[in-house]
Symmetry: D3
Subunit: 321 residues, 6 copies
């Protein structure tokens, strides 16, 4: 993949991850019905990029929309939400859809998202073309959020990260991995990593959740995730990274004690939910040693950040908990 | 009424309600003692306009102040709060006063506000000249907020919208209508409309409250109101509209599923209470097809927005829950 | 009234209020459908007694039932709940009915209760014969409980005590008085008495509510009420008394610092809601200097207690806050 | 099955479910280490009965113990907890075990329980002899409780009821059904029934959970479950029944609006957790038309209740929500 | 000390600590004003015993009263609370007094209790005769409870156990030791032992607090304490024991994983606060190898339990966390 | 002290306290590891200034760092946190350190801060040179914050203000004074001032805490403090002043009803914790009648404000509660 979005590190900066200077790349009102567009995911598609976007409308109903881009920065987002067809089962309820992730596995693109079925759980769908989408069984019982598939099978089975939750503004949350032989039945649930003790790394002491689809590197699976601290004025979301064992991702090899990127710019500090940096996707190019991260800012807009892949991996190893 | 404040819709905007370009119109420090001026109400008066303003002082004590304006935009607010005389009863306690509304009925101006009497309830006063004010019986037992009178009697009785509450940062709240033969005894309490299910219209799923004095149109009473969603970082207030049956306002004919205006500008996103758009008054001119809405922003300043009356009514009917 | 239930004070007891030795007088399963019968009210009727009883059925739905007794102790309670006809208004919703009080004023019996209308508020009905009941307007907006009418008009108006609440297990609550010219519109709301500071009288430091219909004595209105303390294992309800000014019942002349009766017997300590003594009615006989108090125990059964009227009044005066 | 425990309905009782006169059948101190023995399950075994018992020790650590009985009433419970061997996977963590259920499917007994794996989830094990137990994969991600297997496969798959929860004293909870081809991977999660609106059936308005293993009858699956109401003095647990469609148990055919049995006896009203009736098992005999229900009382002891099967089914149909 | 109360272990019992068969020894109404008498402390005095008793009056005001006994079981409690004189400072406020402990050090008896000074903290007084009491400086800033002095100086300084708290029904709490050269200034605060992880010993997983004055044994300080678990129906208090290093009591040598005595008798299971066993004092006789423990039951009455000292110590060592 | 930082009051301003025009003076990323630098303290030192700074690193671990400045505005902060040596005791635990204060007493500089010892309490250290620091005993048991020493002994004893707290986002808090003969043992705890009733001064109605080291003036001790109001969107911190009796600082002579400075500038309204103005230090020059106040803004940066000393004192006296 050689045409992913890119911008060099700013002069004088030593940051391992830096923001795109033209952030945010997608405004809250980018389509006519939207109140906000954020926490969205993209993937390479037909020489360019396709994506699935969380667009809350002005009734603040949450749904996911397909979009397309030549350069990964300028996006055309459909004005109507994705309409699902039945996948590996009869159609099931979906009161709302939000926080999508996208990953290509074997022959098709898989979408996971937070699906409203008597509370939040993990919805699954596949598409070949970002036009027709086939909705499958929910992966888990409620209550769950932040379901993220690995981009290839592990030991012959699909593997998914998720974050068991409750039915409100969950004040706890750890990352688990589960396996499935068929994208329908899931089991072998293992705890991957937990929120940290306050003293060890406070930015991720309340809850954590997987962000972008993990990237297989020589060191293991590079997972970009979010962590949350509960301040006296609400939850603050920041971004970190971890490296998981290639064969057993419940084995955490490294995990950043410092955050990589926290809310500091105006579009991260103010919006519908202040102080949120929430990564949902990343494009990478091993050859050019680049990674481009997409994140929702303040639950309002989509922003980007960049890093050198090798530096990010080295930083994760050097600053591990 | 032909001289209400007005500014045309900005080029390129399709919004049914748009902001005044010089917002906020009243700064938090507009009078010497004030910490913030917001959630205030105005009415036509002697060829110009008079208003009652919520000015919290720097001890963050809440009180209401009279003010006057030629154009409805530039205001002279008295430096001392309104001093009440006894109205239809002996003087009663008033630990604090906030969120006033103003309406002319028959021969005088009536003021309602949130009155501190062993907790918040609805205070009532009348004035002929915005100099002398006569305080009447509280309409209801505590705990109540957002009491708004109809501008004319219904079936021979005064009618008031209100929002029963509790004694704190109330996490629930629906709009009721009550009637009185005499502005002293109130009864015939009927539920008008309730907070919506999260899935149907999330911006108004936690609580709602009447805003401006209802406007009688051919379609019924046009009521501008506020709705609240409880995010993980606090309450977010936005503005919607509804049309109530002319003869029985507990019969809701239409109610906007989308919000009309939500917090998005810096003065709405940051302030003493971030993410608040709180309408308390509206001036209208049927002939010119105009409405000018006054709203508090971030519990800190007063701002204005405009709409074409006919468009606003049509939008309410076309986008109803 | 010369035939009210009575039992002399037990040997050796100095208590101003003492329990009936055969308590409880009404068992939880006294009618076929009931899960519990408690918090109920009685009045003299046709030489004997009639009452309105809270019987929760085995679906734990709350409703009120008429009952009759020759001696005030042995009761025949109807097996079907009261069916209301329209009183001074069209019929209004009533999701549930509980905690009734009964009082004779002028020419008829008035029933008040906690009525489910978008949350708890005060329902009102009248009957001449305890067979036909006519439901009137709710007295107040939600949320309210413990509405108790005075047995005669005060200054030409009906007068009602009530306790504004919220929509859950209200952790606060004070007693107010309101007036009505017509049992339809209510106003002139005045605070009567509040929960006490913890240090002054802890048994009534969380919330209080009127119990029996006040009794007019030479010293003023004798009001038996309940008070609540929030322990680390839940709410504990006990019984106290106060004397209110005859002409202005918002003027509290005396109020017991100690409770009169607190949960101590097995049927008060255990049941659906442990540790509840909740008075709802009292019969009195000035000539014989007797008062018989009916109270709900543990939200499960009905019990009785007795006192000498003169002693109770003297005790209230001697042990006042 | 012709020798299940039995006691005729008491004289004069009309109850559809009645208590065993010698309750409780197992005392809290029945084994040397125990603080309490409750919420336990039994099954026919080798002409008599075997069971798995929740015995909390005096450190209030929760574990499950095997026990044996000739008559189903007098039990010998092992003094040491069950030691698990690996079943269909490597051994997994189990911080605690509680609230077991037991069911015979095809060739072996399956045990499910609430298993401590980073919070409560559903543990699974099988045994042929109640001596050797083989622990399998947890059915679900945390947080879950009240996992109950159907006694035969449905459409070729194992089926399990469960109640998604959070990690504390969960204040919500509905019953779901999930399927597995192999007792390892689970999916096709469907909502079966939810807590009821307060007005409809308050005893089950806070949360519900499956109790005994469902019994296949001509009318469908007879499921005995518990429901909870949150009073101002804590949770109160009672017992109800439902009939689920034979082929699709997410289709609820009938469900009792009244409870069948609620806390009323001293051993139900007082104990480590007052006001708990919690069914976990039932033995039935179609020929004699009998069912014997085992339930935990007050989180302290084991008690029994009986019913005529046909009456219980008819009652469920006649008193359905 | 050879005449402490005693009763042999019941036939057939293996309990290390057993209850007095005539419990409770002091009834809730033992003095005229009392609502409850519990959580009280005693000491040998003039050949018999003296004590300081928590008697809440019928206004549920908390105060401490002196009492005297010949046998330690039958007590004469003064009808009036202790009146303090100034000790090592001017008199300080005391809104309420509860949960006293008593200890003889060097030449006088020291009383500690929970003293209401802008919230709960530790009050200190001394007496020579249980008639005149001299109140000293509060040991600590609010909020604190369960202050217990060691019966002799450690390294030349007074030493006190305490449990920092908050201003409500504290849901956390660990035991600390602090030192003072003069009973006026306190410092060198060290954590002694904390509430346990739920999995390790759930009965003491919410909070713990020192109970009786520690007894110096050959193994170290024997400390009887209470532990609390938060069930879905409230706090449950039980009794445990620990052995602390003689020279550095912040060094915990042994601590019981099982409780010694938990609420199981009617007077412990029901009362003003159900499910409370709360030890505040212990008399011991090394020669006869006896210990007599006084504990409050259900926040309502005073009860006793007995143990063989050597057995209790051995049990603590054998069943240590 | 004649070279403290200074900037004249802006033209047209009447504010008694005004902000430095180049605020913030220290950016969040001023040292390589920092996420935020705020709530810090300074003192005159060797002709310039030294300070102790709270720098949270990017793992959001809280620690304190020494820094130096010639002009009090431009600061060189060490890149490594202060390493403590043992002071008047063995080294004790310190899980974290935050919100330092600095004061010179007699012969050395004393540092106090919020020290993590089983929760927050007050840590104490001294230094002669801001290079070597000696950590002493914690002043108090947990939980405590905002410990501030007086700059000279009172009645021969060290005196410290503090604010007892709980272990979370404390929703209450009053200021106390305590005394010590030796900086090791503390006692004579007296309440100084409490949070105000909402109606009297709402900005300080939730909790208050001492800010800068008190300044001895002719009128008494001038104490700059913070007050907090709990809005529906979180805590809002503002700055006030009080004057305490010279000889008995628990005697409050004056206390500002209005705040002196509240969050209004972008760097105060947005950041890691929006709406925080938190003073921790002040430099004064009696001769030039100047005071320079250092405060943390939005828990993210350090800012300054100025006042004329005489005006500030007069304002405090003229606007007292």
């Amino acid at each position: 993949m050689s045409n992913i979005p890119w911008q060099d590190r700013p002069e004088g900066s030593n940051d391992v991850v830096w923001r795109y200077s033209e952030n945010p790349i997608i405004d809250r009102y980018a389509i006519p019905s939207s109140n906000s567009i954020f926490n969205s995911a993209v993937a390479p598609f037909e020489g360019g990029f396709a994506g699935v976007f969380r667009c809350d409308n002005k009734a603040v109903q949450m749904n996911i929309f397909a979009g397309f881009s030549k350069d990964g920065i300028n996006w055309d987002i459909n004005h109507d939400p994705i309409v699902m067809q039945a996948g590996n089962t009869d159609m099931i309820e979906s009161d709302y859809k939000y926080d999508p992730r996208v990953v290509f596995i074997e022959d098709r693109y898989w979408i996971t998202w937070c699906n409203g079925y008597h509370g939040p759980t993990i919805g699954i769908a596949y598409t070949f073309d970002f036009k027709e989408f086939h909705q499958c069984e929910n992966a888990f019982l409620p209550f769950n959020r932040n379901g993220v598939l690995f981009p290839e099978k592990i030991d012959g089975k699909y593997a998914m990260l998720s974050r068991p939750s409750d039915n409100g503004h969950t004040p706890f949350g750890d990352i688990y991995v589960s396996y499935s032989p068929d994208m329908k039945y899931w089991g072998e649930h293992r705890c991957v990593m937990k929120a940290t003790p306050f003293e060890d790394s406070a930015w991720q002491c309340t809850k954590i959740g997987a962000g972008a689809v993990p990237i297989l590197t020589e060191d293991g699976w590079l997972m970009i995730y979010h962590g949350v601290i509960n301040t006296c004025n609400g939850f603050r979301y920041a971004m970190g990274s971890a490296i998981l064992d290639k064969d057993d991702p419940s084995n955490v090899l490294y995990r950043t004690q410092p955050y990589l990127l926290g809310p500091a710019e105006p579009y991260e500090l103010a919006g519908d939910v202040p102080n949120v940096v929430f990564p949902c996707a990343a494009l990478h190019d091993f050859e050019k040693d680049r990674i481009a991260i997409y994140y929702g800012a303040a639950d309002t807009v989509v922003a980007m950040a960049f890093a050198k892949l090798s530096e990010l991996i080295q930083y994760t190893k050097d600053n591990s908990l």
